[in-house]
């Protein structure tokens, strides 16, 4: 039995220590918000937060997640929507939507580090792949949230 902390709750799972966290979440904890896209950390559709950092859960083993705080899209906001989710709706960001939960969690990690990211910061942090081409709107939505939440320069 592995003891994990997922979305603020202790969870016990009877899985192989080397099972990737993605499959623990999807098939053993009924949290399908993180998606499989490539299995080799190339696309970021499986992104979750581990101790606040954006992590590609398809290459992180279940054992490596023990003792850490895992947050998935399902647990991002206890009630209602996270400001990034609201901005995603406002700016009509998703198309097919498959990569978007990973995009949002990458953006959460970015804004934690940088209150007011530049375009270059966004380019560097947001390496999730999107086949539909939502990139311009992802950028817009991140800037919109940053503009609302960051204190104005004196």
């Amino acid at each position: 039995m592995l003891k994990l902390n997922v979305n603020g709750k202790p969870r016990e799972v009877d899985v192989e220590p080397d099972m990737p966290l993605l499959w623990v979440l999807r098939d053993h904890l009924a949290l399908p918000g993180a998606k499989y896209g490539c299995g080799v950390a190339q696309c970021g559709a499986c992104t979750v937060l581990v101790d606040g950092a954006a992590v590609r859960s398809c290459v992180m083993t279940a054992a490596a997640a023990v003792g850490k705080k895992v947050v998935t899209i399902e647990g991002l906001q206890a009630n209602g929507l996270h400001p990034l989710q609201e901005a995603w709706i406002e700016h009509e960001v998703p198309q097919c939507g498959y990569c978007q939960t990973g995009m949002i969690l990458s953006a959460v990690a970015l804004l934690k580090d940088k209150l007011r990211p530049t375009d270059a910061d966004i380019d560097q942090a947001m390496t999730n792949l999107c086949r539909c081409g939502t990139y311009p709107r992802v950028r817009e939505a991140i800037h919109a949230v940053a503009a609302k939440s960051a204190p104005k320069k004196a």
């Binding site: 098939d27 399908p32 499989y36 896209g37 190339q42 989710q85 009509e92 539909c132 311009p136």
Partner: protein, 714 residues
Amino acid sequence: MNVNRRGFLKASVALGGAFSLEFSFPLAAMAARGMPAPEVNAWVVIHPDDRVVVRIARSEMGQGTYTALAQLVAEELDCDWAKVSSEFASPNEHIRRQRIWGSMSTGGSQGVRGSQDYVRKAGAAARVMLVNAAAARWKVPAAECTADRGVITHASSKRTLRYGEVATEAAKLKPPQDVALRDPKDWKIAGKAMHRFDIPDKVMGKPVFGVDVALPGMLHASIAQCPVFGGTLKSVDESVAGKMRGVKKVVRESDFVAVVADSWWRADQALQALKIEWDAGANGNASTASIMAMLREGLADPNLPQARKVGDADTALAGAAKVIEAEYSSPYLNHATMEPQTCTAWLKPEGFLEVWTSTQNGEASMTAAAETSGLPLEKVEVHKMMLGGGFGRRGPQDYVVQGVKIAMAMAGTPVKMMWSREEDMQHGFYRPASVVRMKAGLDAAGNLIALHTRIACPSILKVLMPQALGANGIDFTAVRTLSDMPYAVPHQQVDYAMRNGHVPVGFWRAPGQQNAYYRECFIDELAIAAGKDPLAYRLAMLKPGDKNRLVLESAAKAAGWGDALQPGVHRGLAVADGFGSYAAMVAEVSVSAKGEVKVQRIVVAIDSGYVVNPDTCCAQAESNVAYGLGSILYQENTVKNGRIVESNFRDFPLPQMSEMPKVETVLVPTGGFWGGHGEPAILPLTPAVCNAIFAATGKRIRSLPLKHHDLRRA
């Protein structure tokens, strides 16, 4: 009887025949289905609390049809948009009701343009029935009643009724014979940038996709298909895999092996531990080189059928002041949907098969499931899930056939099959590789007087829709844009060499889009040879009033064609029509001293006649740019030993945020026709970018992707 019998009969012809004349659904049958709210007609369900549910037959893959069609219905229904939602029409019910929802096929940018007539009539008919029901209750003439935002008013008696209060009565009324549709000028709900219905669930991570299906007792399957197309399974040694944790069964079929386990990862681990021997069959030696040789042999064939013949191109070429020739080519391309192919199937003990899948055609999925299982259509239901990308990949139903075969081997237990990315990359229906040779004759003034084009290209229709092949075996998807040029050229000939090879080909976003690249880059070559501006050269060949002309002028104006640019930035331009619309694009590109290409800005002008949701249309233009950009820069699928070489995003990269240009979309709908938006904007992309690269470097890009070209400054 029908809303508009003539209209529906016309729709029936357009849809290929089997369109239903049934319209209202018998209440008894409705009760039998346990329907909670009255169905005013097949498209419109109105709850007592006024919530309106619009049934959508087409699939949703991010293109917005799920919302845009509801806008069209709600527009004619005159209801409160805040109370409208959509649901997918059931494919099983569709069959039982004689295909009442028209086409479920979602491709060719048809979602809105192919359904707009009958869904608008459905909304309008429901409105008439609701008003008639209120008038009957009040015992006043219907003509004295008006409807607005879901409320029916009898002005002189100052009485009102909400749609939800009369929906049950309305459902019992005879549908009107004829309905008038609103002039798009007066639209209040259609034509507006309404928020898409599917987005909130997607940002919350709700389980809406095919891969998200979860059923009690469900098992998971990962599959391996014969890596050589057309090959078969020889043997499987499961001595190790069969004992691995969670493994329930190894399923053997003639062309694939599947492992069923209690989680997908366990199934996939065991699959990799199987020792599988394949019989490659006849294609084990095929390679990109052998396929290119096959295409070039086609170009040399003296007896090719002609897709177009106007005037006498060869005679005119013989007398031309200047003759210019070029060969262009393109590689195979996978769709690479972010969600791999997936199908969940459950053969229930009572002999009913349920399927959950991401499909571009619910009816085709049902047919495939029924044929595979041997069950009649009525004993099959397909639950249409949201698609994690489609782009033409999810029309063919290979993955549904596999999912159903696995479910039959596991009868009684639901099994969710999902392909690995590697399977998905190597078992697609690829955009055909093709080679064209173009020979142009210019007169002394540089005008294009003759164009002879020879095209060698595998046929998509031959594989997927042989009944749609034209006379002489012409596949219109292989010749379009070259065989139907808008340019006034007195002598034209287009020859088509169908050379198929063993790699399965399919409808990759805007099938035939490579021809727009060939045509519009070659036209650029001619303009340069004639010493003319590429915009002026094109406009001179387009008749006044041609919509290609309008979009070219709109894009050029919005982009500032001819204005000074920042140092190091260069422009290219292209135009093409297709999928009912017209699209022109200006690309601004820089090429570094090291030869790195950066597309800085794209300006695209689109005339689709009407625009139902402008924001979604702009999103589709952005999408076409991103989708096409990877194919310009680095994507290709190559063949070695009969199999596809590329296996994941490492060797078939997708552009990321930092590579995405600024996209400015100019919608110039001129009315009078209905064009699509899912595909047209990809048509001018490749040539506009490659023409800009020529402007930047003087190097003409006649084959893709760019990674094979050395663009370093000499």
